[in-house]
Symmetry: C2
DNA sequence: CATTGCTGTTGCTTTTTCAGCAACGAAATG
DNA sequence: CATTTCGTTGCTGAAAAAGCAACAGCAATG
């Protein structure tokens, strides 16, 4: 398969060989065919590409220019065909995932590792952000799939899979709340609270929880990163409110304690895997979606 | 005239319009023709370039890649055709001249200025060097034409025009030699000489002049630039040996005095315009050669 | 619920383009 | 002086591309 015009390929070989007949031999075509392509090129360009010598053809200045461009195009073509070859069988060379931060900690790396064994040539583009930005990227096509918290339904977004994550108070093991058998939101207002900043707060699970009660927390800090929230909580400075996925690793290491908020009015944090509504996804993305769905479903029983 | 494969142009238009029929209308061809080119492309690449929606065609990931490459190629093509258009009628877009330093001072700028009015789109590449390097560049084709001093005849080089330049002693107006009505080489050995360095000396007119006499000069300095030689002479430090072209400007300003060496054994400095032996030159170069020939012939009477 | 208007797709025919063969003139070589 | 090698050119057949008309699928419309 050649993307370039046959005339250009002929030209390149003639320039390389300095002779029509030698080039024709290499190209496995008749010399007259090669000659005609060259003459046609020169006629259409209005510029002689070769000077005719008794021993063969020699590039003219215009021909030198042309040759340099063709060489560039041939390099481009090889590179393009290579990449398209990677895509063949997978549907795309790159899966673009927009996700909440907490998934990039453990779940996604493990999943992408397994996926990479099956599709070794597929690369990933991981972008983390808040729900709103994630939905926007999925809708515009900047991302193939999105994983976000509590998205509002939109006709442009298709929800593929979702799971209810436990939402609760997170404190250091030394914190008084850690000793309690169970914790309700009411119990937290006596302690300093480590909250997300205004931007993170908007649309968050915590916002919905607070909206359904009339409890006033006493904020100690507002952070724009979950990592910072967890660090402050780990230092015992106060109580944070996160879902259990956010603190999965710290729980395993015993650095933090998770206390589910068992208020009946709280429906918790919904993690949703979603894609663009109208689009048919490339094979590789489809496969990854399937694996993500399984992984997300498996998150549920842990609550 | 289009260099790109028709299939690629079709593809680009379909991607732009998002519809086969709209693209076909713009391309002034039947929709079926466009469709077949797209299908052929996809078949040969083994990758779907579009996803088929009920309302038209939408680029697949592979198609996005393809489109970006085609856009790049189209830009390349426009640029190339533009340059080739400049070449049409002139034979080349750039005249590469290898010359001795002295010509770049006055003669060449004036000449290239006139030439530029006639061929506004032709650029110049000026490389200065010594005779040996100039001949090498002309022979290898790195330069279209060369102007050098006293070249040895070579089968690979064709001498187009030459002129005998006055060769003589160059001193400051305050120098004792400046008062003499005429100067012979003998008269110079009493004064410090400002000479070219070993590399410049080799093959120079001065070398030949000295070889034909057995006069010993008393060198004060050896310089690797004519500019430096002239500066030292202008400062009155000694006597330099140059041709009158080297010091044309300083003579006009009265900063230096030129005393021709009228020894009968000295045949002087031969300035030679030359080109590669076998090559037929582009039109613009041919014209410039003609103007250069005239200009070089006009240098003669001044001796 | 049929209609209308899109869409891409496909057989078939015509037109155009391209490749192969053979031969020619010119120039360099032995 | 014959020979080889070069680019070039009619001519012929094959291959590719384009045009035409019709079809099936889907969405919006009356």
């Amino acid at each position: 398969m050649h993307l370039l015009l046959t005339g250009l390929r002929y030209f390149e070989e003639v320039a390389r060989q300095g002779s029509l007949r030698k080039a024709a031999e290499r190209l496995h075509v008749a010399a007259s065919a090669v000659n005609r392509q060259i003459l046609k090129l020169e006629d259409e360009l209005g510029v002689p590409l070769f000077e005719r010598l008794p021993r063969g053809l020699r590039l003219s200045p215009a021909g030198e220019l042309m040759l340099a461009q063709i060489r560039q195009w041939q390099r481009d073509e090889r590179h393009l065909l290579e990449t398209l070859g990677d895509i063949r069988g997978t549907g795309c060379a790159e899966v673009r995932i927009a996700t909440v931060e907490s998934l990039t900690d453990e779940v996604l790396p493990r999943l992408l590792g397994r996926f990479g064994e099956r599709f070794p040539r597929v690369r990933f583009a991981l972008r983390t952000g808040l729900t709103e930005a994630i939905l926007e990227e999925v809708a515009t096509g900047e991302a193939d799939i999105g994983i976000c918290m509590n998205p509002h339904p939109t006709p442009r977004i298709r929800f593929i899979e979702s799971v209810e994550l436990g939402f609760g108070a997170v404190v250091a093991p030394s914190h008084p709340l850690a000793e309690r058998p169970s914790v309700r939101l009411d119990d937290c207002r006596d302690y300093p609270a480590i909250l997300p900043d205004a931007e993170m707060f908007r649309g968050s699970t915590l916002e919905r929880v607070l909206a359904q009660s009339d409890i006033e927390l006493s904020p100690l800090a507002g952070c724009n990163r979950i990592l910072a929230i967890k660090s402050l909580a780990r230092a015992g400075l106060g109580v944070a409110f996160l879902n259990e996925l956010d603190v999965a690793r710290e729980l395993a290491h015993g650095e933090l304690v998770f206390k589910p908020l068992r208020d009946p009015r709280i429906d918790g944090a919904r993690l949703v895997l979603c894609g663009a509504a109208g689009r048919t996804l490339p094979l590789a993305v489809e496969v990854l979606v399937e694996e993500l769905s399984v992984a997300i479903r498996e998150l549920a029983p842990r609550t």
